[in-house]
């Protein structure tokens, strides 16, 4: 057996402890192949602290030497809730496409171990969900009811569903709040839409923290739309294991004076569906008004983008500065 030479996309935190792997019909596996799970370094935790764990597939799964319509098995994590990284042998990478859908829950405290439970009912492989989830370390209590575990695939609807009364514990750092306020005020003062990216962390599946806002270069702003500079995305952090955090959503502004208020446009919905469909992805809308800019939050729930009734009224940066100068 060759050494592991490849890595599948999914980086998994501890689940409610299930990872369901569905193999499409045009592939098969042999007993020589096995999934290997390796420790994944997260945050400041040294990789050496993460014992290697392995997943062994059941004989009934391994015995499938011929293509089948689809089959799946469930791996149950009984570990300590630490992120693991899936490693595959080069042969697997060449011949297999593994679609992983996962069900992630709270972090566990048991010892690191993995076992397989056996076959599970076949899953629909037409909507693969090979998203990655990183755990960035502890963060205090925000809670966002996250959406489905598979990315939404339906076309955007023109109406955003009404959401939870609020997102309890949604944590936005003071720095991020200040940056959002500046973004909204600049948008209002210049009468153009602006945009950016929400950087933060995912303490666990139920929590999203926004720690800062990466503001996109203002090269494509107009009164009714904003076009992100593609290079902006390239420089954003994508490694959730670093201090720099990870992308947890996106934000843009609406200039209320133009009549574009608290609602997302069809283009906004499409952008969220196509590019920010991870269950934890937040779509934030900063409404620039002459008085106080307001933030509105949209999140995924049951496959639909849902608006929280929570509104975050931001301090006007210029007013804050004026107060400070007047002292």
């Amino acid at each position: 057996m060759s050494e592991p030479s490849g890595q599948l996309s999914a980086v998994l935190t501890a689940a409610d402890r299930r990872i369901r792997v569905a193999v499409p019909s045009d592939v098969f596996v042999t007993a020589a192949e096995q999934l290997r799970f390796d420790a994944f370094r997260a945050g400041l935790i040294d990789a050496s602290e993460w014992p290697e764990v392995q997943a062994r597939v059941t004989p009934s799964w391994l015995d499938k030497a011929t293509p089948t319509e689809s089959f799946a098995f469930v791996i149950t994590l009984t570990g300590a809730g630490r992120p693991v990284r899936t490693l595959y042998h080069s042969g697997q990478l060449q011949r297999l496409k593994l679609y992983i859908e996962y069900s992630l829950g709270r972090m566990l405290t048991a010892r690191a171990d993995m076992t397989t439970l056996g076959e599970a009912p076949a899953v629909d492989v037409s909507t693969p969900a090979n998203v990655a989830l990183f755990w960035n370390g502890p963060a205090e209590g925000l809670h966002i009811p996250l959406g489905p575990l598979t990315p939404p695939t339906q076309a955007p609807t023109r109406a955003v569903q009404s959401g939870e009364p609020k997102l309890p514990g949604l944590r936005v750092s003071a720095e991020a709040g200040r940056q959002l306020g500046e973004l909204a005020e600049d948008s209002q003062l210049r009468s153009v839409e602006l945009g950016g990216c929400l950087i933060g962390c995912l303490p666990d599946i139920n929590h999203v923290a926004v720690t800062r806002v990466a503001r996109a270069p203002d090269v494509g702003g107009a009164f009714a739309h904003f076009e992100f500079d593609p290079r902006f995305w390239v420089v954003l952090p994508t490694d959730g294991s670093s201090f720099s955090g990870r992308v947890v959503g996106w934000v843009h502004t609406h200039v209320v004076e133009h009549g574009h208020g608290l609602a997302l446009s069809r283009q906004d919905l499409q952008t969220a569906h196509l590019h920010f469909s991870a269950p934890w992805s937040i779509t934030a809308l900063a409404c620039a008004t002459p008085d106080h800019p307001e933030m509105h939050w949209f999140y995924w729930k049951d496959g639909a983008l849902v608006r929280s009734d929570d509104r975050l009224t931001l301090a006007r940066p210029s007013a804050t500065r004026a107060r400070e100068n007047g002292r």
């Binding site: 990478l93 995305w233 994508t238 446009s265 069809r266 283009q267 919905l269």
Partner: protein, 94 residues
């Protein structure tokens, strides 16, 4: 000869390792990369989405041109970002 590279989407949520033939052009392997990451090919109006590839491993993060050969534009273990054109707004609000 093949190169083993890592490909990531806009946010980095989707990340895969792929083996690309060194002799192919970037334009030829783009569909494979898009498919590997399970990225949509069309928007909801049926219009094709333009995915642009960037070499994240190079400091200047150059755009990978369609006519470049994989073996010339990339090295083993480099990271490729797959970036669409992201637009917010337009006056069609709901």
């Amino acid at each position: 000869m093949e190169l083993n590279v890592q490909v990531k989407d806009l946010t980095g949520d989707r990340c895969q390792r792929v083996r690309l033939p060194a002799g192919a052009t970037i334009g030829q392997v783009r569909p494979q990369i898009v498919e590997t990451l399970c990225l949509p090919e069309n928007d909801f109006d049926g219009q094709p989405i333009t995915w642009v590839l960037y070499n994240e491993s190079v400091e200047t993060m150059p755009v990978l041109s369609d006519v470049e050969r994989v073996g010339d534009a990339l090295q083993d273990e480099q990271v490729v970002r797959v970036i669409p054109n992201v637009i917010a707004g337009v006056a069609d609000h709901v």
